[in-house]
Amino acid sequence: MGSLWAAFCWRLIHACLDVVYFFSAIRLRLLALCWAFPFFVQGEEACIQQILGERKRLPKTVAIVLDSEEARHGKDKVVVLLWWLKKVGVCHVSLYDMEGLMKTSQHVLEDNYSLSTNKAERVHFYHHKGRSKELIETDDKGLSKTNMSNLFCVTDKTGEAPDKHIMLVELLSLEDGKEAIVRAARHLCTSAQKMRVESLSEADLNESMIESGVGGPDPDLLIIFGAASCLFEFPPWRIRLTEILYFGSLKNLTAPSFVSLLNDFSKKTHRYGK
């Protein structure tokens, strides 16, 4: 009888602890919801607008690095992310995955990018075709096919698209990374005949990459989505001063977490070595 009574007391204590932990977990979840509640009430768009209203330092050029799994299964989320980036005023996005799945799925991305047909919401997807610098449009109306170098001359320096309402989305893969530097070095072999090799500068190599059809702006912010916090051979030339943030799985990305990423970025200061 005594042992039964002891067992009963033991189980009662465990049951009480379980109840306490249960309510504690609910309390924590409610607290989390309270933080995100304004965003839920206002909606995603209002959440994004809020950070714009706070006048924080936001990136103009962003790079998104996807590992193979994310590139394969996260296209819908990528489109949502592009929409958010457009909303916060980003004018150039470099979308990278090693295998080039984003390049081959370009039409899927275009079709899924279902925002208003308002001119203010236009996004242009493009990728480098080796030596060709064609710009691929999202719709048949509007801009005709434009030589990339004209646009790039502007984006290279300021990151701004010629039309402020257009966001350029550059699709990159492995061939645009180290292989691009290799092509630039080969290209330099011909142009360097006319000048001293010792006087070749970073600008010359950069120009050679543009001539080879793989130039692009340096991103202010690079976000990595995937299982590993590494660059997966993202073009190394461009990430000299880029802020690198690792998020994890794309499926966990929400408007509040996206805003949190931008908040992290806005807090960083650049001293440029000083």
Binding site: A185, L188, C189, C230, T242, K268, G273
Partner: protein
């Protein structure tokens, strides 16, 4: 072959799961592991050089080169008959640290961006020079830990090309500090068999420092222990550019054709080629909360795992380093491939 004591340590490990494992710190700082009660006759000592050794089972050792083995600061094994031996259990706190790090998952090459010296000093109301002095002490500590934990290459970013924009007084102090540090530590490098090399545009450094660097490199050239690479006046883009320049020059001279230029050829011309196959860091640690490469080893960081820590560099100690390594060890590295 030396005679070993038959039972040179007892298994007093508090870790019940790994009761048969003991982690010991050799007197030369290398880490050794063993199962308990390893038969003495299976041990062999082949050379005076101390290296990492690892016992897989009770009947064999891969190699044991330690001249003497200390556990809890007591010698428990020695191939030197003048040094007394004893059987002791591990009590030293270092053993706990080594017990948690898995030697089989240690990164071979760790790169560190030592950021935050000036802000550390500013936070304490001190001059930036005090921050750099404290940063040097932190570096000495990390070098010692790297050697002890079996890391083979440690690359540290001491000065970037952008840092030349700092005030002249601060730069002069830094140059003097580096000179003093090298002079003070040279004997230690020899003792600990550290091979130290410098990469970057060294021609921008004062001549006295350039001469000292050349001397230190020559003196430690054949050391087979930890390879310490110090990036001074270094720029990742300049590194890539100089590699391309060398290849372009070869192409102009007719030694190679432009179409022969490949990624691996550029790889072989980079300044980090001196460490061979370990040229690409496995782990990058950056202190002070910044999350940028700041023009450091751009080409080499393709598959490097990043670990960003908020502490300023002078505050980066053993615990922070261990956390970074444990974080690295818990990650699954796929190098871009699918699982």
């Amino acid at each position: 072959m030396s005679k070993f004591p038959k039972k040179f340590w007892q298994d007093k490990s508090p870790d019940k799961k790994n009761q048969k494992r003991l982690h010991c710190v050799a007197s030369d700082g290398n880490v050794g592991y063993s199962t308990s009660n390893a038969p003495a006759d299976s041990l062999s000592s082949t050379s005076e050089a101390s290296r990492l050794w690892f016992v897989q089972n009770e009947s064999s050792l891969q190699h044991a080169d330690a001249m003497s083995l200390e556990v809890g600061r007591r010698v428990v094994y020695s191939s030197n008959p003048e040094v007394t031996c004893a059987s002791e259990s591990i009590t030293h706190s270092c053993a706990q640290i080594e017990r948690e790090l898995n030697p089989m998952l240690m990164p071979r090459h760790v790169a560190i961006i030592m950021d935050g010296n000036s802000r550390w000093a500013e936070k304490r109301g001190l001059e930036p020079s005090s921050g750099h002095e404290a940063g040097l002490q932190a570096l000495k500590n990390v070098v010692g830990l790297s050697r002890r934990w079996g890391i083979q290459v440690l690359t540290v970013f001491a000065l970037s090309t952008e840092n030349w924009l700092r005030p002249k007084m601060e730069l002069d102090f830094l140059m003097n500090l580096i000179e003093r540090g090298l002079q003070d530590e040279l004997s230690n490098f020899q003792k600990e068999k550290i091979c130290i090399r410098f990469i970057g545009n060294l021609s921008m450094l004062p001549e006295s420092l350039q001469s000292l660097i050349a001397f230190v490199e020559r003196s430690t050239w054949y050391n087979e222990g930890l390879k310490l690479i110090v990036a001074l006046s270094y720029s990742g883009r300049q590194d890539i550019l100089q590699a391309c320049q060398l290849l372009v020059a070869q192409a102009i001279d007719g030694l190679i054709k432009p179409e022969d230029i490949t990624e691996s050829m550029i790889d072989d011309k980079l300044l980090t080629t001196l460490v061979g196959e370990m040229r690409n860091p496995d782990l990058l640690i950056r202190t002070s909360g910044e999350r940028r490469l700041s023009n450091f080893l751009l080409w080499q960081m393709a598959y490097t795992e990043f670990y960003f820590v908020d502490a300023f560099w002078p505050d980066f100690g053993e615990l922070d380093y261990k956390k970074a390594l444990l974080s690295f060890q818990s990650r699954k590295r796929r190098y871009g491939s699918r699982l």
